[in-house]
Symmetry: C2
Subunit: 291 residues, 2 copies
Amino acid sequence: MKGRDNMERTSHISELRKIIAMERSNGRKIALIPTMGYLHRGHLALVEQAKQTGAFIVVSIFVNPLQFGPNEDYENYPRDFDRDANLVKDAGVDALFHPTVEEMYPRPIVTYVEVGQLDTVLCGAKRPGHFRGVTTVVSKLFHIIQPDLALFGQKDYQQYLIVKRMVNDLNLPIEVCPVAIVREEDGLAISSRNVFLTLEQRHEAKVLSQSLTAAETFLRSGERSARKLEKQVRDIISGNCHGIIDYVEVRDAGDLSEVTMIEGPVLIALAVKFGSTRLIDNKLVEVDPHD
Amino acid sequence: MKGRDNMERTSHISELRKIIAMERSNGRKIALIPTMGYLHRGHLALVEQAKQTGAFIVVSIFVNPLQFGPNEDYENYPRDFDRDANLVKDAGVDALFHPTVEEMYPRPIVTYVEVGQLDTVLCGAKRPGHFRGVTTVVSKLFHIIQPDLALFGQKDYQQYLIVKRMVNDLNLPIEVCPVAIVREEDGLAISSRNVFLTLEQRHEAKVLSQSLTAAETFLRSGERSARKLEKQVRDIISGNCHGIIDYVEVRDAGDLSEVTMIEGPVLIALAVKFGSTRLIDNKLVEVDPHD
């Protein structure tokens, strides 16, 4: 048997709440995997990790307009609901929640949940309001589903950290679990947006993960200057593809604060635009301070 | 028997969660009454209303630094914990939660919950950041206690509306219940801050409720101009006390939007300073559009 035959599906908050209340009354823990759909192996890795816990797994699919800027790709964000529904069913997901925009925002929302500091750097600096849109919709999903755990992919490491900080600051009784980046064979981090790449861009895009691997090697071989590492990554990207660098930054892995001399765990993060397609990738590196 | 002998008391989030989980597993509904302590008959009216529901009643006492401005009365806000504990015990409250500042904010909070529009008028215009502090701490309490219902006094009508809007916008599964203002015999709305009034100020302060009653009379007798009503209230206050008017405003009772000609339910709200003591009061008036 590939998956379960009886995956619950609903686009209604009230129906989802009933399904979950029933499972909870049977003593099941609830796991939430919030997605924007157009699912890929990265999402399926989240499902696999959730299955290990024995929890009742809810996947939400909602392309959240609140987290797209006015000039971003909300309208064109890729969507294929039928394919997604089959994928999660085959993967053994227990319930699929796919609300409409009207169900999530029945009237103009005026309430926002905002995580300061962490949201003003990296992607937050380039996409004003983006993380506020993420934390607001994730809050809504947390209140609707009241999961015991929620899983987030580390490709969006900043998003994971922000959600984790929100949960801690606001005392949400939820465990936020990171899941490692899943990559194509040539190293490209899997993303719903990869579908927009031309063949040439797709070929060139492998340089992103290669530049991160190179940076890790420099770091492990003794380089401790964050600025020098950033320059090395930039040089590798600029020299090997037509992508336009949005940012390349080495930051503290715990709170994304600025780092000059690397002495603890760091995040090496980048965003590069191939035409109108913006790709992100990152690598967490822990260095031994005694090296 | 005046109250229950076995009121639970804790200053620890984890212990409170256990107490509540136990009650919930027995099928009890949970009611939350968030307060800043220095309890009075207004708070006890909230307890009485909560008791009608049969819920397990949790009162929180926490003077929340986040909702006080730098020049406001956080340090001097009146506190008398022992008296409060006896009051709620005698009133039949089931659990008293009285966390320290360190328990609620173990590290600097960077996450805020903010209700736009509603928080920029009336008290929000005069106390920047105040309602953001309120909604953030109320979110935390909601996540810690996960109540089925939460009760708020209508003296802070704007606060009640803001919390209600937050709950709706963020899909919190909580019923927000308003409780009518409790007044002294001469009409003064009961408030923890009344203790700061001198005898003369206390005597004069009765003009606040009298001005609201007069406004209601003008309104019921046909006056439909919001500006004229405001002027009448201001004139009554200025002519009968030494208080300094912070604001007097007639606004839509549903969303606090501006009103020129009164055609539906309105809130007549005021804030007046007696020395350094700022008092608020309000009256909700529904008019028959066919009058």
